[in-house]
């Protein structure tokens, strides 16, 4: 039985790669104007295969291993699909499905000669991403990783002709990615050397025997290596540049799927292969995550370029996720399995959520850009009148990312904040302090995120249209609307039904934390649930009084209430039900509507008047708040700390007293750039000058160097291994 289901999963996985390959082949033979369809169909099918494989693994609850072939001295290359991989496969599939539709529709819109290359590269990237998640050993993992890096790089610089930033940004992306890869390779090498094998299962088995020096080295190397990919401060300066440079069709994939790889690597190494034993590494992750979140959201709030805002907001969300990971690692290291499970589940939940709403938002942003020709919020405005459906879907995305109930961002951020509070159980005062500061930082982040996305939606979609010369804007086509609404529905679903999401994520974190998050968070209130009898009857009685049983005979599962139980004197530590909340929300809204429309205005005529404008003769778009103006208070407050801009004032006058212009230039400098990137770049330039002979100035040559370095490393390992 098990064997057959495993075989089926294997077939699905093979199908995924086959579909990617078939897509590539089809693209090579299909005519130029068909590339969009090829991409959409092949991408969707491949994504569906991923969804199928991921969800099947989750439902079956079985891990699955398939050795491929043995390499001399490197061990066996293995495909392994455990619950954690399954979660990542599933979310990647969920993201790639709509992203492929959108990318296909974008290709159709302008059938460019490069469409074929784009399709081939994108499908190859899909395959690489899929391979990373199912790699069962470090060698396969790193090979796939390297392939992913190169495909992504090529996809970023793909539109170099249209976008001059692209080559520089792509170069930076590749360089940083490779620096990260080198660190990761070293980390794996250390693991491999100490475990005597590159196989993940073997490393995991050997991990308890590692000394503290090895642990720290592996942690720091992998934290840096994967942190670069994930966009952790301070090594994330490539990210906004790369996102801004990447094409509209590609950036949803970049944000929704590629970003997760770094987080997967972090989690796989530091929680999967080598569970933490002290609170040190976790603390570093916690602090780095919080700082990343704050810096990310601050820059997101003060930026005006839609894509750059979303990029900085991705940094913020990665920060939140890593904060959750860090909390989990601390709980694991201090032997608190249940809070650890909750923290990991919350972080994973947020990761999933972020992939969904960020893909949604990037698709929306791409649609806006392709129609209006600009991403500058100071020049947009009033789009809701022209593209109401797309605006509605975008609104769902902004509400989700602002963590407003009943959408998904709320659930995961709420869980992470609740996790922070569980630090009360820890003994070390220093760690507690770090937790409380991190909690405060995340709360501030959440508040700023609302500000940021109020700005995005209000300035971009509400109000007046700011530029008359903009091209005509019309409602988005189905190629955009379908993906957006799919993702919007997922956001809503994940927001309403955490009691079904958590049990799905629970098995994935169980091996990481050693406890079941499902049991800790989703009590089996429904009597139809088999686990129902494990709850104390008095407890169930109390909650039945509150309505926790509602829906028990209609719905499968454990209930609709997320609840974390404590000890005797404190039976409920936290609880919520977004589902009930949503019902109450709907009832209140309806009631308000009824009260206002039917009762209060009964017998009265309802007058609609234009907005009050002070009696001015013409209210023009330049008389309304701009995006810069909206976020200026935030900038002013944080100016002292972050100095995000360098201001230079000049004023011009004629005939002494006539002012003709007051100019104020603001040179944006990114904190991380100032502190890390520019100094590092200066050092590197000096090194580069000395290595001028090696440095040909060709990017691809550079990539080849890195690849060569990678192979050399493996070779070194090989030699080391055989001599041992």
């Amino acid at each position: 039985m098990m064997a057959t289901s495993a075989a089926r999963v294997f077939i699905v996985i093979t199908g995924f790669f086959a579909l990617c390959g078939a897509g590539v082949l089809l693209s090579l033979i299909a005519p130029r104007q068909r590339q969009g369809s090829v991409l959409a169909v092949a991408g969707c099918l491949a994504a569906a295969a991923l969804i199928l494989a991921g969800s099947a693994t989750l439902i079956l609850g079985e891990n699955f291993r398939q050795p491929l072939w043995s390499l001399p001295n490197l061990g066996t290359m293995t495909i392994s699909l455990d619950q954690l991989s399954a979660v990542f496969l599933l979310v990647t599939g969920l993201v790639l499905f709509p992203a492929s539709i959108f990318a296909g529709s974008q290709l159709k819109r302008r059938s460019s000669p490069t469409g074929r290359v784009f399709t081939v590269l994108l499908l190859a990237l899909y395959a690489a991403i899929g391979l990373i998640f199912i790699s069962g050993d470090a060698f396969l993992f790193l090979l796939a990783w390297e392939a992913m890096s190169i495909f992504s790089y090529l996809l970023i610089v793909f539109f170099r002709k249209q976008n001059n930033d692209a080559s520089g940004a792509g170069y930076l992306f590749l360089a940083m990615g490779e620096a990260g890869t080198l660190a990761a390779v070293l980390g794996f090498l250390l693991l491999g050397v100490n475990a005597g094998s590159l196989d993940f299962a073997a490393i995991h088995a050997a991990a308890p025997g590692f000394g503290p020096g090895v642990r720290w080295a592996v942690f720091l190397l992998s934290f840096f290596g994967f942190g670069v990919k994930a966009g952790l401060a301070p090594v994330n300066f490539w990210l906004p540049r790369a996102y801004a440079a990447a094409s509209r069709a590609f950036v949803p994939v970049l944000a929704g799927a590629t970003l997760n790889l770094g987080l997967y690597g972090l989690l796989r190494v530091n929680a999967g292969l080598m569970p933490a034993t002290g609170s040190g590494p976790g603390l570093i992750a916690l602090i780095a995550g919080t700082i990343t979140a704050l810096v990310g959201i601050l820059y997101a709030t003060t930026e005006n370029d839609l894509k750059v805002i979303l990029a900085h907001s991705s940094i913020e969300n990665v920060g939140i996720v890593v904060t959750g990971f860090g909390a989990g690692m601390i709980f694991v290291g201090t032997d608190h399995p249940v809070p650890a499970a909750i923290a990991f589940v919350a972080a994973l939940y947020h990761l999933v959520n972020h992939s969904l709403f960020k893909t949604l938002l990037f698709i929306g942003a791409g649609e806006v850009e392709s129609q209006t020709g600009t991403r500058d919020l100071n020049k947009l405005g009033g789009l809701i009148k022209w593209m109401p459906m797309a605006s509605l879907a975008f609104l769902v995305g902004t509400l989700s990312i602002s963590a407003l109930p009943p959408l998904n961002g709320f659930v995961s951020e709420w869980l992470i904040l609740q996790t922070m509070l569980r630090s009360a159980e820890l003994s070390s005062a220093g760690v507690k302090l770090a937790f409380s500061l991190a909690g405060a930082g995340l709360a501030l982040t959440a508040a700023l995120a609302v500000t940021c996305f109020v700005k995005v939606f209000a300035m971009g979609f509400l109000g007046m249209r700011r530029r008359d010369e903009n091209p005509r804007v019309v409602e988005a086509k189905s190629g955009t609307l379908v993906p957006m609404f799919l993702l919007g529905a997922l956001c809503l679903g994940l927001g309403l039904l955490p009691t079904y999401v958590i049990p799905a994520l629970g098995p994935a974190v169980r091996p990481l934390a050693g406890a079941s998050a499902t049991d800790a968070l989703v009590p089996p209130f429904f009597t139809s649930s088999p686990a129902h009898n494990t709850l104390p009857p008095a407890f169930v009685q109390d909650f039945q009084g509150l309505g926790a049983q509602v829906g028990q005979n209609l719905l499968p599962g454990r209930g609709l209430v997320v609840l974390h139980r404590g000890g005797a004197e404190n039976p409920v530590i936290f609880a919520m039900s977004p589902f009930y909340m949503a019902i109450i929300l709907v009832i209140l809204l309806l009631a308000t509507y009824v009260v206002i429309r039917i009762w209060l205005t009964r017998g009265r005529s309802l007058a609609r008047r234009k907005r009050w404008d002070g009696g001015v003769r013409r209210l023009l778009p330049e008389m309304t708040y701009t995006a810069t103006g909206f976020s200026n208070p935030v900038r002013v407050i944080f100016d002292a700390v972050f100095r995000p801009t360098a201001v230079e004032d000049t004023s011009e006058s004629v005939t002494r007293h006539f002012r003709t212009a007051i100019r104020r230039e603001r040179e944006r400098t990114y904190l991380v750039d100032r502190l890390v990137f520019y100094p590092v770049r200066a050092v590197l330039m000096r090194i580069a000058r000395t290595l001028a002979r090696l440095h040909q100035g060709r990017l691809n040559t550079y990539a080849a160097y890195v690849l060569a370095a990678l192979l050399l490393m493996l070779l070194g390992f090989l030699v080391f291994q055989s001599s041992w």
Partner: protein, 525 residues
């Protein structure tokens, strides 16, 4: 100095065709060719340190006559620079390069007559709003047909607010014309990128009633009603300036009693207007008790005025040739006692304000006007005096017998809101002092001497509470008005206000506005 000016001009511009100077010792008329106009005006304004009063445009049957009026300087002279051109030639050189104070005057002439001023950086969209009127409406031209102007309304479709701030995300915050509680209608364009306001531009003339056009072809006595009523918080000062212009044309003498009572009433009005200004400043800082205290004082003075003259704003007192009605000495004494009492209240209020740090914090260094800015923009009245520009027509060009009075012209150095407040208080003291002297010296006799009208033109001036006001009147021999041109102090002060107000926090704006004591009706006319 008197001879000096003529000599200097003859020396500098020996070519009689370019520049001839006649008259003296108090009033010079310099006829000036167009090419020397800017140079001459600049020389008068900058080198001779004269102040610019006004630009009077007159459309004679065959030519344009422009009269640039300067005054003051070391010899307390009036200098009228005359320039003319045939009717077909509608362009004059602009003098704003050196006489910045003439900026708005030239814009007004451009809007009202369709003249252009070559070299002026910004003409148009001034009195006649471009988003309300079509091009080529020139209301002050003789042939102007209001029916046509109104029937063929075609405002500029592409009107945009004038912006000079160039920064990413800069926008214009429109305020008004209807804003705040009970305020005069005026429109502000605040250029900002959020938080602080970088630049401020007022859009005046929402209240433009075209009184100068309205006055044309009306008897002089009727136009007095307009002079009193176009800006009635300082009705008496404007009426007085107008009456003096008419009296000067006709060579009429004002009986001494009327002259003294005119001064008494003018100072009563100044006291009342300053009390109102102080009240507004207190209110703008939300200091409620002080605002109430000043409000009580203002109402007291309104009542004193009402009791003395029948009207709370002193309407119906003036007549060309004197006063419409005599005021009993006893009533005047009562009014004086009342005013002295009010002054004591004001002094107490000032003493209290001087120690209220939270109040002072909001006024100090707010709306700073440097001395050079005050002179370049030709600021007037208490606003100029608070920037060490201590000019006062009562002292330099005395009228109605002010030369016989002892009083000081208070001035301050700092040029901020607090300096302006101190000047207001100090002037209140001086006003009561003048009122006392007026009643001490008032003679008996009639208060009005009638006189026959003659044709001619003259400038009447008075130091209104907000600063110097100039009324140019041209009468025909029947006593009907040919041309009436009013230049009120707020016109100059609004111009200066928008230069003084730059880079400020939005919440300071009401305080700046209050401390300038600007009247919109005065500027709009």
């Amino acid at each position: 100095m008197a001879l000096l000016l003529k000599e200097q001009i003859d020396k500098r511009w020996p070519d009689q065709a370019k520049c001839t100077c006649t008259g003296g010792p108090h009033l010079y008329e310099i006829t000036c060719a167009r090419e020397t106009l800017a140079e001459l005006c600049g020389w008068l304004f900058i080198d001779m340190r004269l102040k610019f009063a006004t630009l009077v445009v007159e459309e004679a049957s065959r030519e344009w006559r422009l009269r640039y009026i300067f005054y003051g300087g070391a010899g307390a002279v009036w200098v009228h620079v005359l320039a003319s051109s045939p009717c077909s030639e509608e362009s004059f050189p602009s003098i704003v390069e050196s006489v910045h104070a003439a900026d708005w005057h030239e814009r007004e002439a451009e809007d009202m007559f369709g003249l252009t001023f070559a070299g002026h950086p910004r003409l148009g969209d001034f009195i006649l709003h471009d988003d309300a009127w079509q091009e080529n409406v020139q209301p002050m031209r003789h042939h102007f047909d209001p029916q046509m102007a109104i029937r063929f309304r075609k405002p500029a479709a592409d009107w945009r607010p004038h912006r000079i701030v160039q920064e990413e995300g800069a926008f214009v915050m429109p305020v008004g014309p209807k804003f705040s509680g009970a305020t005069e209608s005026v429109h502000f364009l605040l250029e900002t990128v959020g938080e602080d306001v970088i630049r401020f531009t007022p859009r005046l003339f929402y209240k433009w009633r075209a009184i100068e056009k309205l006055a044309e072809a009306k008897p002089a006595g009727r136009v007095l009603l307009l002079a009193e009523r176009f800006a009635a918080t300082t009705a008496f000062a404007h009426g007085l300036a107008y009456c003096q212009a008419v009296e000067r044309i006709c060579g009429a003498e004002v009986p001494p009693r009327a002259a003294a009572l005119r001064i008494f009433l003018a100072e009563l009005e100044r006291l009342r207007q300053h009390a109102g200004a102080i009240q507004e400043i207190c209110e703008s800082t939300a200091l409620v008790v002080a605002a109430s205290g000043a409000g009580i004082v203002e109402e007291d003075l309104l009542r004193i005025s009402g009791e003395l003259t029948g009207h709370r704003y002193l309407f119906g007192m003036l007549a060309p040739g004197g006063l419409l009605v005599d005021l009993p000495d006893l009533a005047c004494q009562r009014a004086l006692r009342g005013s002295q009492q009010v002054l004591r209240q004001l002094e107490k209020l000032e003493a209290r304000l001087r120690v209220s740090s939270s109040f002072l914090d909001r006024l100090e260094e707010v709306g700073l006007v440097a001395h050079q800015v005050a002179t370049a923009y030709g600021l007037l009245g208490p606003v100029a005096r608070a920037s060490a520009d201590a000019h006062d027509l009562r002292r330099e060009h005395p009228y109605s017998g002010y030369e016989k009075f002892q009083f000081e012209v208070p001035s301050e150095e700092e040029g901020d809101g607090y300096a302006r407040l101190r000047v207001l208080f100090a002037e209140c003291r001086q006003s009561v002092r003048i009122m006392e002297q007026a009643l001490d010296t008032v003679a008996g006799g009639s208060v009005c001497r009638s006189f026959p009208f003659r044709a001619g033109a003259a400038l009447g001036w008075a130091e209104a509470p907000r600063g110097a006001t100039f009324h140019w009147v041209r009468l025909d021999d029947q006593g009907y008005i040919d041309r009436y041109h009013v230049t009120a102090p707020s016109f100059a002060n609004w111009h200066g206000f928008h230069a003084a107000v730059e880079n400020f926090a939005f919440q300071d704006f009401p305080i700046m506005l209050a401390s300038f004591d600007l009247s919109v009706s005065e500027a709009d006319r």
